[in-house]
Amino acid sequence: MEWAISAFLLLLFAFSLLAVGHVVGEYMAVRAASSQAAFAAARAPSAQAAQTAGRRAAEEAVSGSQVSDFKVTISTGAFERGGTLTTQASGCVSLGDFPIVSQTLGQCVPLRWTAHALIEPYRSRSG
């Protein structure tokens, strides 16, 4: 009996370990997406181009990951030279591959990261 309990607990822990590794990996992807979006947007020539460039950079950063419901918001403000822009990337990592662990931690672990960047002071602006 104790063998069964111990084996179950050890197996559960081993799967939890894999799940944690999975979550950490996806967390890194969300962080990278947010900061790369910020830096790409900060180098864009206009606020509209900043939105496009930031979203593209963020999508590229998470393209190889398994983050679901990925969203990135880019707040450019007035997009003044030397100003600050803020990006927030959020997503969800599914624990569907770990059935027992997902019952404890939930089906989906939310991940979020906010990054800031200085809008390039000397870049030509269109419009």
Partner: protein, 138 residues
Amino acid sequence: MSARGHVGERGQVLVMAAAVMAFLFVPLCVFLVDTGLVEASYGQLGETLQASVEDGASQIDQQAFRQSGGRTAVLDESAARQVCERSLETSGLPGLEVVSIRTTATTVTATATVHVSLLVVGTASVTQTRSAGFVLGR
């Protein structure tokens, strides 16, 4: 071995399982999370530094540039340092500490450390140096 021989051994597997969890799985889990945090901070520090030195390297001395009719372009070292520092501050990277910002006539070099709070052990420090120079006409 008789059934009576097992009586004194009851609970041994539970002890072993507890030991495996305490000395293998828990440290492994902590190591996994800490490694991820340090790796993420390392990558982000590099990106932040690169963006900051590039911001700094865009600060040319406008007066010298205009007086020379666009022939001479040198870095405004003071402005470059300020912009680089401001860019690093703006990034809001947790645990960021600017170690040094050096400028020459054409390049900006910044060194920064990020202190990452680990789960158990305390903090880990990651240091990186990045440089950027300005290029005219591209």
